[in-house]
């Protein structure tokens, strides 16, 4: 594999980690209320983010993300400062303008649909996007991501059913990021099968279990999967085993938890194979650590949303509505 690409994997994984650690620290320092994210999932996220056909509209991939996909955003080139704005809920947050949680992105220029907390709903939305893509003859794929526990929500099954209607199969890449945990509930307390992706088999969806902690293997498998979906217009499921290194969210304390660290593992490999020296790798960490801190310092200067912005975007202006057509208001306030 290309040396530059390998170093790019490393760079983006470290960038993501530095950003996550900064956001975790922001909870402790009172710069944000709640953190949720993906330390331990950097490898598969970076591998996917680099291969997304990114852009706005039906010709590009649609992304229905989980809340642990910050690594994808970094790989797609979204500035590191923006997740920090989301985390601090400033008016400058380009995703939600201070409305939603960290990790809950929405970014139209890259077809990142709003990440919603209610687990699993993205799987039921994916078929609509993919149907539009397929009908338009687009090469875009709808990429939908969710955790192992969340596959028990109804929409996971809906996604399988709607993606495989006979003769109307849809170009959806399903990605399960299996860290074998819900918040605190172990996978083996819930699931009769080892691989959630087995559930896709009766639907005739090709499935593949991968080591999501290996950026190179992930990159190859995801590349192949994306290529297959683009070519066939049919669904594919990747089941990636990943780590959860800092607990579920800031609500569960964000202490380091046991689990394989994909970055440490990859660094060992890069050093062993003579791609980089420990010092070079360490410098990457330091650079992004500093960048994240500087970003926070800038964000601290940015304003919070003004209270009156509450009503903004409740409705889009409408030419056929005589009451809320131009402006939405609270009828009980008598305006």
């Amino acid at each position: 594999m290309d040396r530059a690409l390998r170093l790019q994997f490393h760079d983006l994984m470290v960038k993501t980690r530095a950003l996550e650690l900064r956001m975790i620290a922001m909870v402790r320092s009172g710069d944000g209320y709640f953190w949720i994210g993906g330390p331990g999932e950097e490898a598969v996220n970076v591998a996917l983010g680099l291969q997304v056909r990114k852009g706005e509209g039906i010709d590009y991939d649609y992304l229905l993300l989980h809340y642990r996909n910050t690594g994808m955003l970094m790989a797609m080139g979204i500035p590191l400062i923006d997740p920090i704005r989301l985390m601090r809920s400033t008016a400058t947050d380009p995703f939600t303008r201070g409305r939603s949680f960290s990790g809950h992105y929405a970014y139209k220029p890259f077809n990142i649909l709003p990440v919603t907390s209610p687990i699993g709903t993205q799987f039921g939305v994916a078929p609509g996007l993919a149907l539009a893509q397929k009908r338009a003859g687009s090469k875009g794929v709808t990429i939908v991501i969710g955790g192992d526990a969340g596959a028990a929500e109804p929409d996971f099954a809906s996604g399988l059913i709607w993606a495989t209607r006979p003769g109307r199969e849809l170009p959806i890449l399903f990605l399960i990021t299996d860290n074998s945990l819900g918040i605190s509930t172990r996978k083996d307390q819930v699931w009769a099968m080892e691989h959630i992706s087995d559930r896709a088999k009766p639907f005739g969806i090709p499935t593949r279990v991968i080591d999501g902690n290996d950026p190179e293997a992930s990159h190859a498998a995801l590349g192949e999967a994306l290529e297959t979906v683009r070519r066939t217009g049919r669904p594919y499921m990747i089941d990636a085993k990943v780590s959860r290194l800092y607990g579920h969210s800031s609500s569960s304390g964000t202490n380091l938890e046991p689990g394989e660290d994909p970055i440490a593992r990859y660094e060992k490999k890069l050093v062993d194979e003579g791609i980089a020296t420990p010092g070079e790798l360490k410098a990457v960490h330091e650079r992004y650590h500093a960048e994240a801190l500087a970003a926070l310092e800038q964000v601290r200067l940015e304003p919070f949303p003004a209270p009156h912005t509450l009503y903004d975007h409740t409705f889009v202006p409408s030419p056929v509505d005589l009451v809320y057509g131009e402006r939405y208001f609270n009828p009980n306030r008598g305006d």
């Binding site: 929405a106 039921g124 609509g128 539009a132 009908r135 059913i161 975007h313 889009v316 409408s318 056929v320």
Partner: protein
């Protein structure tokens, strides 16, 4: 005269031909059935879905976010309750993304009682719907409005819930749609035949576009003494009551709200200022009822303008509507109830 089912079908045809609609879908919406009430017979873009309301609404949301202007159906509004979370997401998408992802879609669904539908085919939804911030909610009471409101719903760039009073589905309108063919011709042109429909194709009359704006009520009957605000099937119950009242010398103004969210407060307010007496009539259950919101607005604005205590008439707060006619009738307001309430208001303070 077109029935409401026909009028909606004509509007949907207009939407798929002229307004860029490419998907009209739901359970049994496509061929061969064209909907359990025949609303979607013969439409080019109508298709059948899995028996999965969540998938229907989710897919509509996906299509909407891809700019496709989907129209989906929940076969009976009684079956929407496993998807309220998705409706909330559809309603919050623009807001949550600070305007990046509006959700232009129409969800249509038959609602209300009046066809002996018993516990699972008689449900009303207006109070629930009105709580779904980010959605607009409309309900026609006659075919011509059904047509105009559907075009408005399709045109509006927000999610619009289009509730169809199921008991009015086959009732003919009093007013013709513009350029509507005569009844028999229309039927021959657009109603699917019984039996084999394999070869059948509709012939569509050219109905010109017209819009019934969202948020515009209609004063169906002018009056001086009491204002009766209603919509959907209950409007006709109120109109019947108004006729009885007329014979007793009580002149009732009857307002068809048409839009539930947003609602036309100006028209209601003007009427209240004229009559000093108002009642809000609907068939949804009456603990936390949409009429109670209108009452609250009335109290907020006109507490000191009222000549009599304002009323809300709603359905009985029980878990369902019973199948037996005795039970159904006792569960939702009847014209006699409306008449009595108006009489009581007239006698109050005299």
């Amino acid at each position: 005269m077109a029935t409401m089912a026909q009028a909606i079908r004509l509007a949907l045809h207009h939407a798929e031909r002229e307004m860029g609609v490419r998907d009209i879908f739901g359970q049994d919406v496509g061929p061969p059935l064209g909907g359990v009430f025949g609303v979607t017979q013969g439409l080019e873009t109508a298709w059948n879905t899995p028996l999965d309301e969540r998938g229907i609404i989710g897919t509509a949301m996906g299509l909407a976010m891809a700019g496709q202007k989907p129209i989906c159906e929940i076969q009976f509004v009684d079956y929407i309750f496993n998807s309220i979370d998705l409706m909330k997401l559809a309603g919050n998408s623009a807001w949550n993304s600070a305007g990046q992802f509006p959700m232009q879609m129409v969800l249509m669904s038959p609602t209300g009682s009046g066809i002996h539908g018993s516990i699972y085919h008689s449900h009303s939804f207006e109070a629930w719907a009105a709580r779904l911030n980010g959605w607009k909610v409309v309900m026609p009471s006659d075919p011509i409005t059904a047509y105009g409101l559907m075009l408005a719903a399709v045109e509006d760039p927000n999610p619009v819930l289009y509730l169809i009073p199921k008991a009015l589905m086959r009732v003919e309108g009093k007013e013709l749609l513009p350029e509507e063919p005569d009844k028999k011709t229309l039927k021959a042109m657009i109603d699917a035949p019984l039996g084999d429909r394999g070869e059948w194709k509709p012939r569509w009359p050219a109905i010109p576009r017209f819009i019934t704006p969202i948020g515009q009520a209609h004063v169906v009957r002018g009056g001086e003494h009491v204002s009766i605000v209603s919509f959907g099937r209950m409007l006709w119950v109120c109109l019947k009551a108004a006729e009885t009242l007329q014979q007793e010398g009580i002149s009732a103004e009857v307002i068809d709200l048409r839009s539930i969210i947003p609602y036309d407060w100006k028209t209601i307010s003007k009427s209240i200022l004229k009559t000093g007496r108002v009642m809000f009539v609907n068939e949804d259950t009456d603990i936390v009822n949409y009429g109670e919101h209108l009452l609250r607005r009335t109290i907020d604005a006109h507490f000191y303008d009222l000549k009599a205590r304002p009323r809300v008439l709603g359905g009985e707060p029980v878990p369902g509507i019973g199948l037996a006619e005795t039970l159904e009738d006792a569960s939702v307001p009847q014209s006699g109830t409306v008449v009595q309430a108006a009489r009581d208001m007239m006698e109050e303070n005299t």
